[in-house]
């Protein structure tokens, strides 16, 4: 018989490093015939902003739901802070905050009442002081007692973030937190996220905004349930070919190299110290092209796989 409920040790910190907050091993999730996630292996360090990037239907939300214990893995192991999020749901949930894709709030209640309600079960000491703190943190102090239905989309997102933060979680799961909010507020959100990681909070954020993905410390690219990359965003860019234009006194030399931070010093060495280089231009690929080319390659692989 296939073991759908793999045995999981009480606490698995023995095979987890102290600097890791999330560990995923050989994870698979099926919904009937549909394989939502295939063979995922990931490690997320404490205090990182870890980005999940991928098109709609890539498996981002499924992965987050697995990590918060809302659904059971079909295969493989997950450890969140050393605990199994599905088996030890109650404990894991007291340690995490989750902000869903669209704000799940009670419109008839005020911002403060929502935050109080959603934070109450996992409240810490000085709960009411903490509520004031998070309200100030998301910049809603002067609207805290207004009913949520009067709020704009962005303000609801802020209430939603406050709800996820109020019990001082060690890990924050944010499912497309900045969808549909303006660039200024988005910047504010990311400032908040950085502030939180400085306090030691780990953040897992899913997005399909490329400019946002660049703010992450590390990036996982998901497509059709497969993990295509798991690297810092800069390194992803460097892997791709970049065009380097070296402007000399009377000519411009163009070179196409990959991993230019390492290649460039070597190129410059060829010119020697005496050569008068007036300027250097580097044309990097954008993250968007990098991600799209990874996805296109993967799609080709899938088609080839089907043909064979």
């Amino acid at each position: 018989m296939i073991n759908l409920f793999p045995y999981f040790p009480e606490k698995i910190s023995d095979f987890m490093d102290k600097s890791e907050s999330i560990l995923i091993k050989d994870l698979e999730k099926d919904f009937g015939k549909l394989k939502a996630l295939k063979d995922i292996n990931l490690t997320i360090a404490i205090g990182q902003i870890y980005g999940l990037l991928g098109p709609n239907g890539a498996g981002k939300t499924t992965l987050i739901r697995l990590l918060i214990g809302a659904t059971k893995p079909s295969k493989g192991n997950i450890s969140v802070l050393g605990y199994n999020p599905f088996r030890q749901k109650a404990f894991v949930r007291s340690q995490i905050g989750y902000m869903p894709q669209s704000p799940a709030l009670y419109e008839d209640l005020s911002a403060r009442e929502n935050i109080h309600f959603f934070g109450y079960a996992h409240r810490n000491e000085n709960f009411s002081k903490r509520i004031d703190e998070v309200i100030a943190f998301v910049g809603l102090s002067n609207r805290a007692n207004d009913q949520v239905y009067k709020f704009s989309g962005g303000m609801k997102q802020r209430v939603s973030l406050a709800c996820a933060l109020v019990h001082q979680p060690k890990i924050l799961f944010l499912d497309e937190p900045t969808t549909g909010i303006d660039p200024k507020l988005r910047q504010t959100f990311w400032d908040h996220f950085r502030e939180l990681t400085n306090q030691g909070v780990t953040i897992l954020v899913s997005t399909h905004q490329m400019n946002e993905a660049m703010f992450c410390d590390r990036l996982a690219i998901l497509h059709e349930g497969v993990l295509l990359a798991d690297e810092p965003p800069r390194q992803l860019l460097w892997k791709q070919k970049a065009k380097i234009k070296i402007c000399l006194e009377n000519q411009i030399e163009e070179k196409v190299v990959s991993n230019y931070p390492q290649q460039l010093p070597q190129i410059l060495q060829q010119y020697g110290l005496e050569t008068d280089i007036s300027r250097i231009e580097i044309e990097e690929e954008t993250l968007e092209t990098v991600v799209l080319s990874l996805i296109n390659d993967h799609e080709k692989q899938i088609i080839q796989g089907e043909e064979q």
């Binding site: 704000p103 799940a104 009442e113 309600f117 109450y120």
Partner: protein
């Protein structure tokens, strides 16, 4: 205090707070039954005949109207919790399903208490029922119990609906139950196979007790039905507890 009671209290308070703010919901759940009863009065006045004793019918009718409206409203409110994502968020925020169920039941019982009272007072005023205060109190208790059971059924139905629209197919079932319950025609007049179905609807038990009271009996004369009614409620709540899950 024990943590679960703290959380239950917060849950109940949250639902009550919402009720208090949602004027439209309050109006629908209290005024609608009263308006419908008023129009039933109008209809009865037109169709009046000396051989027809209106009080035999009107109290159970009112009980049905309360049952129906409470059921639909509870089901829709709970489905709305699902579609808005707040149900999932409650689970993630550490609330247990039993706290959600009981919190809702307690909060809505406050509403049912008010609703049944208003309806019965209106009946007494419009139809000049002429029952004793003990009879009225007993009828109130039956209606109140039925309203709470209706909420539980609404919650149960909400677990099987993915959106508000999927609540509507259940409405014919409730309409059917009024025929099966004996409110319109005596259960003995139904075909044998249909009589069995009567036992499935809470309206049947409520109606039996109400009829006994109308005939001049007391609650003591319907001990069995009076025991079955709350048990029915408990069974439904247990079914809600089993089926209310954090969905995949």
């Amino acid at each position: 205090m024990i943590p679960i009671f703290n959380r239950l209290f917060v849950m109940t308070l949250r639902v009550l707070n919402q009720l208090r703010r949602d004027k439209r919901f309050l109006a629908i759940s209290t005024l609608f039954p009263m308006i419908i009863i008023y129009f039933i009065k109008v209809v009865f006045d037109v169709l009046a005949s000396p051989s027809f004793n209106i009080s035999t019918y009107i109290v159970p009718y009112a009980a049905f109207i309360v049952h129906f409206i409470t059921f639909i409203l509870t089901a829709i409110v709970l489905v709305r919790e699902r579609t808005a994502g707040t149900m999932a968020q409650m689970f993630v925020s550490g609330y247990q399903q039993i706290e959600i169920i009981i919190g809702y039941l307690v909060a809505y019982t406050v509403l049912a208490t008010l609703q049944s009272l208003l309806v019965l007072l209106e009946l007494n005023w419009l139809f000049d029922l002429g029952f004793s205060s003990i009879q009225m109190t007993s009828m109130y208790l039956v209606m109140w119990l039925l309203a709470i059971i209706s909420m539980a059924i609404g919650m149960l139905v909400s677990n099987f609906a993915r959106n508000e629209g999927q609540v509507f197919p259940f409405i014919p079932l409730v309409i059917l139950s009024v025929i099966l319950s004996g409110i319109i025609v005596p259960v003995e007049k139904l075909p044998d196979w249909a009589q069995v179905l009567s036992y499935l609807t809470p309206l049947y038990y409520a109606n039996e007790i109400l009829q006994e009271l109308i005939r001049g009996g007391t609650l003591m004369d319907s001990k069995l039905n009076l025991l079955i009614l709350p048990l029915y409620g408990l069974v439904v709540v247990a079914m809600v507890a089993i089926s209310l899950r954090e969905k995949d």
